[in-house]
């Protein structure tokens, strides 16, 4: 697939757009259709397209597997941190009103931050799952080659 010129050109053109669209869904999710989950999936889909065209090794140079693992946890930690912030500032868990003075500003800030955490986690989890499956095939191939040789 990597040698196909059309695929390479179209992918190079599309991948930034897909990722940008993912970010658009992310940051407009609080008042229009969208949100962290969909944004994460769309973003990860762009990344998977990159892997399919340019190979897993090139993709892992951009975001190493360990970084994905850390980001996966960091997203949930961000979510929980917003929740705890509500408790610390005198409200309930995941209570956004105490976060900022204005009522609407507080809700908007809270939901965007929480959804960003969701987006990061969903994107990295999808990327990790894909990496593990993609890696598995190359590992399996390598093992089989060794088996064939006496």
């Amino acid at each position: 697939m990597r040698e196909n010129g059309i695929l390479r050109v179209v992918a190079r053109f599309l991948i930034p757009l897909i990722m940008l669209f993912g970010l658009y869904i992310q940051f407009h999710g609080e008042y229009s259709p969208g949100g962290g989950f969909q944004a994460g999936i769309v973003f990860a889909a762009g990344w998977i397209l990159f892997v399919l065209i340019y190979g897993l090794d090139a993709a892992l140079q951009v975001i190493p597997e360990r970084a994905m693992y850390v980001l996966m946890v960091a997203g949930v930690i961000l979510y929980c941190a917003v929740g705890i912030a509500g408790v610390v500032l005198g409200g309930h868990f995941l209570d956004f009103y105490p976060l900022l003075p204005g009522k609407h500003a507080a809700q908007q800030f809270g939901i965007i931050t929480v959804e960003f955490g969701v987006g990061v986690t969903v994107a990295t989890v999808v990327m990790l799952i894909f990496t593990l499956f993609a890696r598995r095939k190359s590992e399996w191939k390598a093992a089989k080659v060794e088996d064939d040789q006496p």
Binding site: Y69, V73, C80, V87, H92, F93, D95, F96
Partner: protein, 493 residues
Amino acid sequence: MTITELMPFSVLVPLIASLVCALLPGRFWPWAVTLVATITSAVIAAITLPAAAQVTLSYAFGNWPPPIGIEYRVDAANAFVALLVAGMAAVALPWAKKSVDREVPERQGAFYALFLLALSGLLGITLSGDAFNIFVFLEISSLATYGLIAHGSDRRALLASFRYLIMGTVGATFLLIGIGFLYVMTGTLNLADLAERLPEVRDTSTVRAALAFIIVGMGLKLAMLPLHLWLPNAYTYAPSFVTVFLAGTATKVALYVMLRFVFTVFAPDWSFVVLPLSTVLMILAVAGMFAGSWVAMFQPNIKRMLAYSSVAQVGYMVLGVSLVSIVGLTAAFLHLFNHALMKTALFMAVGTVIYQVGSGHLKDFRGLGRTMPWTLTAFALAGLSIIGVPLTAGFVSKWYLIQAALDQGQWFLVVLILITSLMAIVYIWRVIEAAWFQERPGNQPAAGEAPLALLIPTWVLVALNFYFGIDTRLTVGGATAAAEALLGGGMAP
């Protein structure tokens, strides 16, 4: 911070700690963080119980008032189960260190993260007052549990985990279908709100189907007799620590959910009338008591034997429920608590033997009574509790169960309970006979006494078995309060 504001943190602390745990390298720190989080959670649960017995606590997440928002609603029944779950996890963790180091040598951060997720899921199911939230937490704990079981060193653990995944997903789906039906009919997911709105629409086939779906779904997670097939393999091939934890917690929480729906949401005067629920549960319970004990008597693998014994013990709990009286429900809650104590102690003793000998087969127990006297004595004493010898916790719960049966004039149930207790003597005796009355074959490796890190937690649990057999204030008091909360419409404000 009031107790109401503190209460949800028994779920949140393990949840957040699991994230930290997933990132920690090595073998010490993941365990240490888990231990601290679990003990914190147990302490919060212990503080909650006396307060919840007085007045129902309600905590609205995000300050969205229920029934629109998600609320945690805690009365004596949830607080009792939550204390059991968190307490069992806290007692099991000091034991876990050595056993997990041996059986799960790598990636312990992920392992303990899964454990904390399972714990917070189970606690979330218990404390939540929102039907859909219960389903979500059920999935959290179940998915984490599948991962934990798959960590077993035997390759068959993968198959056992997969089988549990299939059956557990079917169970959770049934619960979700039931909740969906209820939502269609009432337009609410809050349990207290459901209880208020259901009487108007309850003479419809949709609501009847909802009850049936929820009973079957939770029966699967509970391992009630014909739905128990996932349990023996899952308990046998999981790492010893996972078995210790699951045996004391997972099925208990499923029983609690079933009770919450049958008694609080549907109200007993409807759910036991419209379907022949009492008869069905009684037949399944008695069948489970017999089949579980019978199969346990012939198992060569001790872990599997104890797993089948769990199926039988679940039967006792369901039997108490099927009597539909305060005493019967008290017996069910008592046995829920006491069975967790004795099964955890037994699995710990077996896990200790597995740590020293490397196998849980009956033939490897031969002659161990002389070389590992403390471990095997702990097993024998916890075995007394499961048989129901006076002065042990098992006696107390069976005593209440027999009383509940006599109150209803069901004397034949008393006979059945006694017969299955005799069967328990048989399967516990097989281990004792092998350990003390048979010589250790020459080709078997000699095994010395286990390290204190494994022995002390085991003996603490054995001591608890005897303590709660003599001082029953906490157990009987808590179980009675829980039963009254469920039968007396405890969810009403």
